[in-house]
């Protein structure tokens, strides 16, 4: 930039915060990714602890470790926490950390919304978990079926915490979905056509679309349940003309796409990890894209397979059986594409690739039981038994959590500039892998031998004792694996940053072409993308850096803001007001949020620029 006038135009002064205030006000996708990782990790530990308590209670017949009431609270909070507050935020952590880098962008499309999404999720989750301290804990299962969750049969504030906590956290998820959809459509670097996008970006794109269509359904359902519980609205009260089965439909119209919201990103992570560590291009890229889209599409028309025993009639059961089985076809395509990516490759075994490779057989086992469950008459036997518990833990833990672990080990150096310890990582993998299969494989048989799910205890002499014991031992192994992972994280963060730009040496996508961790503005010059696996292509042609698509210049950045935090606090307070029937709190909290929205609307914020001479000053994330 020449001349003082031009310089002055960029010289907006912006308040830069430090320390805690920096984290509360940040709109940087990389920092928000770290916030999601910490919060999601924390909730994962809480959910894991609940799981261990559940397994200890079931270690022997007629055990009295926890009471029946507490047990139902544990299973409800375990399910809700793991799905909404652990799995999804951990995915959002990776999405935030990686997607803008993979598409060659400097941030997401709406950085302010991104921060707002994180804080609403966090305060929603906090609200839900505070229920443990107030003594009113949700206890109607994570599916919260009515009438059990209705005001008649669930007195006290327990289910209110579920309804309002999820409602507030759900805002965050919906905002994230909209944001990433807009980001991926609009902010790709020049040359990155849709069919040159990395697989992880593709899956996040499709996942975002699923979120945008599925989460409003949950929002509506929760509003209706909230009105039933707080204002006696009778949406789900059969006696007053409502319908309990309606809740099941609403829940699963959301709930089944939710399953794919969870697993598709894992598919994306596995695609990246498998391809990188076998030093090979992803086999059948375009069929992978097609399969992802097809799974997402079919995912919306199979919800009633969760309701085969509800009594929808043979026509519905037959149709939903077949529709469900169809999903096996695109999923099979994916599995074989991964196997043939490995085929002929040069496979390197790291903690990341072990989780990626361990994912394939494990997920296949979860997938085949899924097809078994799709056969409605057989499902009359499986439904609501431990067989189902085994199935969905195979896909969610064996699928999604393996994917998240793989992604964490893979992108950790990019996020933090430090490689996680490989030895500890491998210990984590083997302990977790063995523990996982010990815990859940036997549960298939427990279900078939007649053990319903969500049982607080079971009678002696039913042939269930041995396998329950094995299952508990496995769960403890998984707990140990998690502790090793925490030690690994602690040990690693004490070390000096040591990661190169491309620490795995075989990185293929744009995030590996920039420093680890990347500077605040990610790319000094937006790169020009000349093909699929853009960075790999340049490397193979002997280049050391991407070809820039623009001349160097001042970089425009969004300003940090405390408003997202304050808005979420407002919703949090309002949630309490609704739960405990304190109107002034409910309205006061909402007012805080609305005033923040007003402030955001009336005061223009143009952001600021990082001038060229500042760009080298080690402005780190």
């Amino acid at each position: 930039m020449k001349g003082d006038a031009a310089l002055a135009a960029h010289a907006h002064t912006v308040k830069r915060y430090r320390g805690l205030m920096d984290w509360l006000t940040t709109v940087d996708h990389k920092k928000i990714g770290i916030l999601y990782l910490i919060a999601g990790g924390l909730f994962f530990l809480i959910g894991g602890l609940e799981a261990i308590l559940i397994r200890i209670q079931l270690i022997k017949p007629m055990n009295n470790f926890v009471s029946a009431d507490t047990f139902n609270e544990l299973i409800t909070m375990h399910g809700t926490t793991m799905i909404f507050l652990a799995a999804m935020p951990l995915l959002f952590a990776l999405m935030n950390a990686v997607i803008p880098l993979q598409i060659g962008a400097r941030d997401v499309a709406f950085p302010f919304l991104n921060a707002l999404g994180f804080w609403t999720f966090f305060f929603g989750g906090l609200l839900l978990n505070i229920s443990w301290f107030t003594g009113h804990v949700p206890d109607a299962g994570w599916t919260s079926y009515v009438p059990l969750a209705s005001p008649t049969y669930s007195e006290g504030a327990g289910v209110d915490y579920y309804v309002l906590g999820l409602q507030i956290a759900g805002i965050g998820t919906l905002l994230g979905g909209i944001n990433f959809m807009a980001t991926i459509i609009n902010m790709r670097a020049p040359g990155m056509s849709f069919m040159r996008m990395p697989m992880f970006t593709w899956t996040i794109f499709i996942t975002s679309a699923l979120i945008v269509f599925a989460f409003p359904v949950l929002t509506v359902g929760l509003v209706a349940l909230m009105f039933d519980r707080l204002f006696f609205a009778n949406f789900f009260e059969t006696a007053a003309g409502g319908s309990g089965v309606l809740w099941e439909h609403i829940f699963w119209v959301f709930g089944h796409p939710e399953v794919y919201i969870l697993i598709l990103p894992a598919f994306g992570i596995i695609s990246e990890v498998v391809s990188t560590f076998s030093r090979k291009r992803l086999f059948g890229y375009s069929s992978m894209v097609f399969a992802t889209v097809l799974i997402a599409f079919l995912g919306f028309m199979v919800w009633a397979h969760h309701m085969f025993t509800t009594g929808l009639g043979p026509v519905a059961n037959a149709l939903f059986s077949i529709a469900t089985m169809l999903i096996a076809v695109p999923t099979g395509i994916k599995i074989f594409n991964w196997l043939f990516t490995l085929w002929g490759g040069s496979i390197r075994f790291t903690a990341a690739s072990l989780f990626g490779i361990g994912f394939i057989p494990t997920f296949v086992m979860g997938g085949v039981t899924g097809v078994m469950l799709a056969s409605a008459p057989a499902d009359y036997q499986y439904h609501d038994t431990y067989f189902v518990v085994a199935h969905f833990h195979y896909v969610i833990v064996g699928g999604l959590m393996f994917g998240i672990f793989a992604g964490m080990f893979y992108w950790w150096p990019k996020m933090f500039g430090r490689l996680l310890n490989e030895t500890l990582g491998k210990i984590t993998f083997f302990t977790f892998f063995i523990g996982f299969h010990l815990t859940f494989f036997v549960q298939h048989f427990l279900g078939l031998l007649g053990m319903p799910r969500r049982v607080w205890t079971y009678l002696d002499g039913q042939g269930l004792n041995g396998m329950n014991l094995i299952s508990t031992i496995g769960a403890i192994l998984m707990g140990i694996a998690t502790i090793v992972m925490l030690i690994n994280i602690a040990v690693t963060s004490l070390k000096r940053p040591n990661a190169a730009n491309d620490p795995w040496e075989d990185g293929r996508t744009l995030e590996w072409s920039i420093p680890s961790p990347p500077p605040e503005y990610n790319f000094k010059q937006i790169p020009l993308v000349r093909g699929y696996d853009a960075w790999w292509k340049e490397k193979m042609e002997g280049k050391k850096a991407m070809t820039p698509a623009e001349p160097p210049g001042p970089i425009h950045m969004p300003s940090p803001s405390i408003l997202p935090f304050v808005m979420s606090v407002g919703l949090f307070i309002s949630g309490f007001g609704f739960i405990y029937d304190k109107l002034f709190l409910a309205i006061g909290g909402l007012a805080v949020t609305l005033i923040c929205m007003l402030l955001r609307s009336v005061f223009d914020d143009h952001g600021f620029h990082i001038e060229e001479h500042e760009q080298e000053k080690g402005v780190t994330a």
Binding site: L339, L342, V371
Partner: protein, 336 residues
Amino acid sequence: MKRLLPLMAGMALVLSACGREDLSALNPQGPVARQQLELMKISIGIMSLVVLVVFTICIYVLIRYRRRKGDNSIPKQVEGNHKLEIIWTVIPIILLIILGVPTISTVFGLSKDYSNDPNALKVKVTAHQYWWEFEYPDLGITTAQELVVPTGKKIQFELTTADVKHSFWIPSIGGKMDNNDGLTNKMYLEFDKEGVYRGKCAELCGPSHSLMDFKAKAVDQASFDRWVAAIKAPVEMPKDEAVKAAFQNKCLTCHAIGETSTGSSAPNLTGIGSRLTVGGILFNDEAPVVDNLIKWITDPQKVKPGNMMPKAQDLELTDAELKGIAEYLANNKLEY
């Protein structure tokens, strides 16, 4: 190997034991459960094949294509292979057709309604928080916790609930069906062997969901007819006046026995002395029925947390009354 171990352990389990004859879905004792097991076998067969293929390729690839030390070569970058991709699209479709056809025919087969079949027995099942009510509308009988049915007949169930959602399940006889609030579901089952089968509630319904067991007792037709006659016979009240007063004022406000149907918000007590369990989970062959009754009446919350029945103490039952009632109930037996 590590991956195969649990699989093999599982196979061994399958071969060695299919679970209790009266409880396991893998050990079917009726035509409905047998049809369902057939479908499971087809799907397990197909799926084992899939798992085997994937595991074999996976293990082969991991060994054959592992990176050797010092190997810095770049493998050939393959984009895809149309022939292979068509193969692994078409074969799964064929496998799914093999599974899909019997699935659909069984869905429709099991949904048959025998309500108007004069040879079928109709039973209305009403689930309550932690107990089961069985009403035989054509016979004018109501009983609880122990379903008695004749062998060799289609039993047409009508399922509903008095409170929250439950699910009616007798694993070794057939799959489950939900008891929905305000709706009636229909399902038929058939018992072709005499015996006692364990039934369960399969839908989370509150703290004692796990203890909401019942028994299904299949007997031959003659025996069933005797049972019907016996349950319809009038029931004598307790001889001791004090016990009788306590029983009538404190028990029969909710329960019913014999013809005295002053209340039906709690299980019908007719013939409770000859049932196999008290409360569905205290087995009378493990402890004398009187002891089980005393245990139950003294503190029902201790046996089944969250149920509606008050403690003996709260009902102000004296020890003598409690003992008298328990003995009276224990001797209320049906001969069939």
